[in-house]
Amino acid sequence: MLATVEYKDIEEKIERGERLSREDGIRLFNCSNIAWLGAMADKVRREKCGDIVYYNVNCHVNLTNICTSHCKFCAFGKDKDSKGAYAFSVEQALAVVWDAKKDPNLAGLHVVSGLHPDWTFEDYLERLQALHDEFPELYLKGFTGVEITHFSKISGLSIQEVLKKLQAAGLKSIAGGGAEILSDRIRGELCPKKATAEEWLEVARTAHKLGIKTNASMLYGHIETLEERVDHLIKLRDLQDETGGFQTFICFPFLPKNTELGQSIKQTSMWDDLRTMAISRLMLDNFKNIKAYWVMLTIPVAQVALSFGANDIDGTIHKETILHDAGATSPTSLSEDHIIKIIRDAGRIPAACDCNFNILRRFD
């Protein structure tokens, strides 16, 4: 189409539907022709998933922000005695959802929390079960690979046993967070106390074997190199080749405000966000969905990202807290009408879905 001579070979590969190599990925990160990158990702997106853009009407439930892992990129986690620390009782967790239920279209919950020093696996399980019993009509997506690894360690159960118990309590799919960059160099520096790269991948692999779909993500824009971003994407692609259990991939730009790391690192630019989105679409050739998570990207970036390979814009959320603690400037929730308008203005078809991408309603 309009590639410069330098990238002609990559363009041809993309047109033939051929897999891109690690070297290709690194070259793409050095390409300044963002319109071409976007056009390539957009073409792949159109062929693979058509014009539908998924969103969900959901509510985030963060059971506690008390967390033992003290990750340097996190502004949400607190110590037990810190100001603003909280841990929901069963009743408090239910109350959050009752409030969100005022929206008659509410379809699901996204449950992600801190690694509380005193809670047992049963404490988490009890809350999940209660949510499921009280709201059986809402789909439950929750717990990242990091939390599930933690549950296995504190309970002595295997990953498989933990997952089975969560599944029995109503869990339908697993959230994509906690992958950060799947490199032990990075994890050693930023989040040494939580699941390693291999542990995170093992949770996803085990879940996929049990038939539980999971999501994947990348937290970028901190201390990682561009090569490490590419390697991260390839690790996810390899596992997807093996299991096919990933549903969507989410790009998380690091939000530095209020984090330990933020003192030395600036927030990524829209330019970086969009090329990373496009390159993720191009590298992750075996992922159907790529999410433009508006909370982190901001609404303007998320909308344009729909033409940089994304076909998913996340949800209404009800009240986002984890990233707003890190200074996210986006609103803490969006109305469904607003999401529909954002998608339509981008010339695409909005479709509300559940946590497994089953379409509930579409607006042609």
Partner: protein
């Protein structure tokens, strides 16, 4: 629009051929944002290679007390309003004293309201004062709307007004006040100020006198897509005739605090589409500016991938758009602008008003 028409329009855009109004409509409807971006970028590279321009400038908004009461504006107020202000000689002297300290200051940009009692001499003396304080700095001042107002106040023809201002040191006109050059739209968004014909006649007269100008669009309010595109073709026709436009600027409408605050700010998709479409349609205008104050810095940077080749300047203190709820800072630094351009894979070029590179900025 038939598929055939869209196909033809796409082929023309890809080849960098001149677009017809029908082609533009077809491309708009086709809505293939990244295709538009690719074509626009190709055209930009033909015109200015990898260069992206910025300048070191200062804005002066002399007064916000305005007789035109445009529904689209959040800056203006009536006389007696507690928000009202007018800068007198000593206020301007303070700003100029600060400006004298700015390294490599290239331009003073003066745009103001149509004050009910300040006469033409007031404005003229400001130009003289700036020229005296900063003899080497370009003065880009007064939109055609203000020039028409001066002409009406004094009874002097526009040509004479422009000659007097030129004599006093004015070197170019900014591109504002064009809004949408369509009187149906102007009657609703700015009924009391220069009409379409007056705006065009003033611009053409300036060009005849050798005064270069910019031009602009204010989009995303009550105009139809056809009116919006037609506006761009009107500008292209003027440029064919005179060649006096240096840069085009697309202003998204900021509704907050205006009489049209029930409208919503258009999305980033539309902003980028406008940049790319403008670049493609205005094939005879050298530069397309992504005005960071209006777009926000991230979108302005992104616009560099959609055909824009200018980020405007460091600005100092901007008042007009901030009254309408713009959340950008009121100034930025040379270093920041250069970094944005470099990250986009382009070459930052500090320029004067006339797009001559300033060498010592490297």
């Amino acid at each position: 629009m038939t598929e055939e028409e869209i196909k033809n329009a796409r082929a023309k855009a890809e080849q960098g051929e001149r677009l017809s109004f029908q082609d533009a409509l077809a491309l708009y409807e086709d809505n293939d944002l990244l295709f538009l971006a690719s074509c626009a970028r190709k055209l930009k590279e033909k015109k200015s290679g990898k260069n992206v321009y910025y300048n070191v400038n200062r804005h002066i908004n002399l007064t916000n007390i305005c007789t035109s009461g445009c529904p689209l504006c959040a800056f203006q107020c009536e006389e007696g309003d507690k928000r009202g202000y007018v800068m007198e000689t000593e206020d301007i002297a303070k700003v100029l004293a600060d400006a004298q300290k700015v390294k490599n200051l290239g331009e003073i940009h003066i745009v103001s309201a149509l004050h009910p009692t300040k006469d033409f001499d007031y404005y003229l003396n400001v130009v003289r004062q700036v020229k005296a304080a900063l003899p080497d700095v370009d003065i880009k001042a007064f939109t055609p709307v203000e020039v028409v107002h001066f002409s009406q106040m004094t009874g002097k023809p526009v040509r004479e007004i422009l000659e007097i201002l030129q004599e006093a040191g004015l070197s170019s006109l900014p591109g504002g006040g064009a809004e949408i050059l369509n009187d149906r739209v102007r009657k609703k968004i700015c009924p009391k100020k220069a009409t379409t014909d007056q705006w065009i006649a003033t611009i053409k007269t300036a060009h005849e006198l050798g005064i270069r100008t910019n031009c602009s669009i204010m989009y995303g309010h009550i105009e139809t897509i056809e009116e919006r595109l037609q506006h761009l073709f009107t500008l292209r026709d003027i440029q064919d005739e005179t060649g006096g436009f240096q840069a085009f600027i697309a202003f998204p409408f900021h509704p907050a605090n205006t009489q049209l605050s029930h409208l919503k700010r258009v999305g980033s998709w539309e902003d980028m589409k406008m940049i790319a479409m403008s670049r493609l349609i205005l094939d005879n205008i050298d530069h397309v500016k992504a005005f960071w104050i209006m777009l926000t810095t991230p979108l302005a940077q992104l616009a560099l991938g959609f055909g824009a080749d200018d980020l405007d300047g460091t600005i100092g203190e901007e008042k007009i758009i901030h009254e309408a709820g713009a959340k950008t800072g009121t100034g930025t630094t040379r270093e920041r602008l250069r970094a944005l351009i470099t990250e986009a894979g382009m070459i930052p070029v500090e320029r004067d008003t006339f797009y001559h590179p300033i060498k010592e900025a490297e």
